[in-house]
Symmetry: C2
Subunit: 204 residues, 2 copies
DNA sequence: TTATTTAAATTAGGATTCCTAACTACATAA
DNA sequence: TTATGTAGTTAGGAATCCTAATTTAAATAA
């Protein structure tokens, strides 16, 4: 029986969450579209663009083959391939670890920095549509998204994320969100999805 | 200047819509993850799975190379490649048009039907998280998503969709949504994202 | 009617993604 | 010291995905 599939338009007429799933799928196509549009302009592939942008904005320890594989949900050989090409194009440099001779991280070269300033805005057409929502709507949307991402993380689907909810510095007292690192209360808008200070909470 | 990139965590602390964009990007990874998980089980690639599910639930006229290319935002040769493989695996049959000898559509073979019942639920882990939201939340989420998809369509980013808002049978009277085909009012929940009766509204 | 344009699908060629399996090298714990 | 785990690579191959060019057919214009 596949009549109750979320992708069956008849099913969608009875079941709101099916429609939400198909809607999210359609929105996820947007990233694919925008990434390819940029790809064609600059002559890099989507994964190459994603890696460059990631390393532009994240600390060195996250810029290893192993972490990038987790971040983008691909295998290490796939990342290794992509890095080989970025290296050949002189957009990155490898920085080897002094303590562990197997390890290295990648950083942007000067050329890579220039490239990032070309590509970092690939999602701009999406953002400009989102900017049209009213502030209260934005807050509600954000609340939903951050909750959903946390649920997806807890259920084991998304292994990587750096949200407050999964961070060891986070604490919830009644309805109050609190960060023990910043030592202050977090209102909805200040919950982070990608906090630089994130440290995973030990599984309880 | 790339400091104001949506992917810069510092920028995200000032700007809610940047956080929403990164959140949506993370959620869009979920489809990639779930599709690959299913791929490994059944021995099909992601695009092959997507095509099979699509043709299972859509009318024949949408099951052509040209349309599938638009639907999944790839080129016709890419679809042609994928169909060649699905055909080799005997999961589909080609049905040639009598009026136009260049055209054909694809349909599921018996084997293809069986395969669809294995794969149609690939997004289930996501759906079961979404099912956890309360009915009022679901309604709000759906409202946001349908609005966003329509905005993305109007701004030319998403070329394909089959929502009420872009349909020629749709009419808005004040706050009331109305379908001239069904001849009835549409409450938020009955707005469709993928209506079988969809006919594009002529550009005004 | 004929010529031109447009469209549907394919082929050809090539870069890259992406996988699994096997491997090297190093680090860490028993 | 030996076993086990971890970081990254290599090898091999299927498939994705592009652009450009081609074939064939249909639609349109002269």
């Amino acid at each position: 029986m596949k009549d109750n599939s979320v992708f069956n338009p008849n099913q969608q007429q009875n079941d709101l969450s099916s429609k939400i799933v198909t809607g999210l799928e359609r929105i996820s196509e947007v990233f694919k579209i925008l990434l390819w549009e940029k790809s064609k302009v600059v002559g890099l592939s989507p994964i190459q663009i994603q890696i460059l942008i990631f390393i532009a904005f994240h600390k060195e320890s996250l810029c290893s083959v192993s972490h990038l594989a987790k971040e983008f949900n691909v295998t290490k050989p796939t990342v290794s391939d992509a890095i080989k090409i970025l290296d050949k194009k002189a957009l990155i440099v490898k920085v080897f670890s002094s303590s562990d001779q197997r390890r290295y991280t990648i950083q942007l070269s000067a050329l890579g920095e220039a490239m990032v300033s070309e590509i970092h805005d690939f999602a701009h057409p999406l953002k400009s549509q989102i900017d049209n929502f009213s502030p209260p709507d934005l807050e509600a949307i954000f609340q939903t998204i951050s909750t959903l991402i946390y649920k997806l993380n807890r259920s084991g689907i998304l292994t990587v994320q750096r949200t407050c909810f999964a961070c060891k510095f986070y604490e919830k007292n009644g309805a109050v969100h609190y960060c023990n690192l910043l030592e202050k209360e977090l209102v909805t808008n200040s919950i982070r999805l990608d906090c630089p200070e994130f440290v995973a909470k030990p599984v309880s």
